[in-house]
Subunit: 435 residues, 2 copies
């Protein structure tokens, strides 16, 4: 891990210190993905089978998971795991229900009622990676808010194994959240199928979920096409930033940094502290703990790019964190809440010694599909709001139009939009002729 | 206007009936915009002056509007217009405050607190077209929610006239909403300046606002670049769909169709009715009213592509409207509210005879920056939520971790994320050793 002192760095060095790995959308990747999308649009299910054979090394029979396969998956799982999945779903549901958007109505002038009406996005497509490590938790994080929103059709894609089956825990988690249909598809072809539809896969209006570079590039491409689909957010490698003082336990901090590092070689791991002793102790703990991790190779590569940064105060730590805008922000200090007011950007925040990022990843109730790569400056994590449209509704009475019509007429005239003006003045004339 | 009968059309004809004009992102446009963006990134203010001279035919001195120019603009406007702008701002503020997102907190398990914290996007860039017809109302629609959200810096770009000045009403509206800085820039170069920053123009994290094809293409390109900026929504030509029965006044319906048609040649105008008599009467009224419009040439071109569609019932009208997903939906029927439950997608809805679209465009309080081109299926109009990040915050007590730790451990193990598991189990061990 790199050891830096923020206050000895000039501006250029500071920018470098917080730089994320270049995620250049390499031409080769862009073109490869564009070709896959075009192939799926042109040849539908036939293309899906070809691409699954090629990329997932899986010869698909039926593309859609059957009821029998759902049942078999459920039977194959041990009770403890199923119980944990249901338990997590329950807390995720509790938090998402409590934080969902609400309808609202207000009179902005006598006789002028303006409301906000909510409607679910009709058909949504969820992507759940499986590859090396299936992610049933992602199925929960996407399926629960989709169900609360009331989306009429919720479709999920997850790549099958070489034996032609989807991961059992992913299927079970999907069923728990009421996902209607699951397709054994992965990669850019899954995104293309959900964005444009095939004979088997319904066309969806918005797509959600994390994935590898091919998946995220495909999401970007289909979201730029009006005939494609909207997406939840752009993506990048996962990341954590920890702010810790000398009250923090080095072993805990090290464990949290490693839980991020094990995700992938390009995972981002940053620790800020005004305590040199804490930084030293954490560095030692990381070395000690990583040795026994199954994913130590991956973690070590990620750690080679990680940064332990000395700052002069917690206030400066907050400043640096805001500049970085981390996906996950962990605050292990004497009074974590005291720092919250100063936080401007982060995907999800974890306060105190007993709140490891892992609980947010799985079952505290918050969502784990979060903005990375600095997108936390302008995007929010997935929520029920991601699955609904907020539609304004206005109803003006005759008296209401008498009240606000003149203002409308003045502004329309100023903007030289005569038909806009007349749509109002004509009505005001009718009202006046009644009087 | 084209006259169609929905129930005589086969599926292909129906698709054509609701088709929007192809908005192909022509290669020429894409490349032209990419070149402008590259030029601004490379040469900053120098490029901005060159491009303003080229495209706005305006030789800029200072790029930023001065306090003196703001004062001069205010002095130049007549009192009635200033009063109307303030009045509109007031109602827009009322509705946007009432409908803004709220902080929330809930215990998802004893000792497990999960909250949603709101933070404004730090620096936002607003684009207000001016060209042929300046739009002070757009300055209000973007400036008001930005102010309510508390964005630290709100930047606005609007192209200057040939005399080097911005439209006075746009400047006044900006000032009313507390916009901090205005720059005399238009087109793709304004978007590039706000997305990447120059010496004069601050780099913004998210950009908002309507514009011509160059502006919308530039927004799309900068939003695909992690170093660029997020955007409010993709855009297309403005559109209205009216559902009317024989209770509607043909003159009112015609006026509403024309207020949309006058926007531009590619404006979309659709009327659905189960009453042939109403369709006939509206067609006649449109012909009569358009003759005397200043923008009649534009309106006529838009109307040539417009559709008067006979449906068999209001229920079918709702079905067709949902399929089209209009930006503006006007319901002039006997009981407009009765149709609301069935509406799935629209940007903004207008109920009844005394609620022309114009009031929403200017001053009912709702926002007029809305999803067009079918994007109403998956996007919402601009609101305060567009200017904030929703950040989840969790705080777990020792008892809370005893409660939810085991679930986390089980799920992390199932996903083979050992460091995630250990981050929890290590803490549980410490807690147990205390007990």
């Amino acid at each position: 891990m790199k050891r830096l002192d923020w206050n000895t760095l000039d501006e250029t060095a500071r920018r470098e210190a917080l730089a994320r790995p270049a995620q250049a959308r390499a031409d080769e990747l862009k073109q490869g993905v564009a070709a896959i999308i075009a192939q799926v649009r042109a040849h539908g299910d036939v293309a899906l089978r070809e691409l699954s054979a090629k990329y997932d090394r899986c010869a698909l029979d039926a593309i859609e998971v059957t009821a029998a396969e759902f049942d078999a998956a459920e039977a194959a799982l041990d009770e403890a795991l199923k119980s944990a999945i249901r338990e997590a779903a329950g807390r995720i549901d509790t938090y998402h229900r409590a934080s969902q958007p609400r309808s609202v109505g207000v009179e902005t002038a006598p006789g002028v009622r303006v409301e906000r009406m909510l409607r679910p996005i009709t058909r949504v497509g969820l992507y759940v990676p499986a590859g090396t490590a299936p992610l049933p938790s992602t199925a929960l994080m996407l399926g629960v808010p989709a169900a609360i929103a009331g989306c009429r059709e919720v479709v999920l894609c997850s790549p099958a194994r070489a034996d032609g089956r989807c991961d059992e825990a992913v299927l079970f988690a999907a069923r728990v959240t009421g996902v209607h249909r699951v397709f054994k598809l992965g990669g850019a072809q899954a995104i293309a199928a959900m964005a444009y539809g095939t004979d088997s896969v319904p066309k969806c209006e918005k797509l959600f979920g994390p994935g590898n570079a091919w998946v995220t590039e495909a999401k970007l491409q289909v979201s730029g096409d009006p005939e494609g689909a909207a997406i939840d957010m752009p993506a990048g490698p996962s990341e954590v930033l920890v702010i810790a003082d000398d009250v923090a336990r080095p072993a805990f901090v090290a464990a949290d940094l490693l839980s991020q590092a094990e995700h992938g070689e390009d995972s981002q791991v940053v620790l800020l502290s005004p305590s040199a002793a804490l930084l030293d102790a954490v560095a030692a703990e990381v070395d000690r703990q990583v040795a026994t991790l199954p994913r130590s190779e991956t973690a070590l590569k990620a750690l080679a790019q990680s940064r332990l940064i000395a700052v002069d105060s917690l206030a400066q730590a907050v400043e640096v964190s805001n500049r970085y805008a981390p996906e996950h922000l962990i605050i292990q200090t004497d009074e974590p809440r005291a720092l919250l007011d100063g936080i401007e950007s982060a995907g999800s925040i974890f306060l105190g010694s007993w709140t490891p990022e892992s609980v947010g990843d799985y079952c505290s109730g918050s969502n784990h599909v979060l903005p990375t790569y600095g997108y936390a400056r302008s995007y929010s994590g997935v929520s029920v709001a991601s699955f609904v449209k907020q539609i304004s509704v206005q109803e003006v009475s005759a008296d209401g139009l008498r009240a606000i019509g003149p203002c409308t007429v003045t502004l329309a005239a100023a903007e030289q939009l005569e038909a806009h003006r007349r749509a109002v003045s004509m009505r005001l004339d009718v009202l006046e002729s009644r009087a």
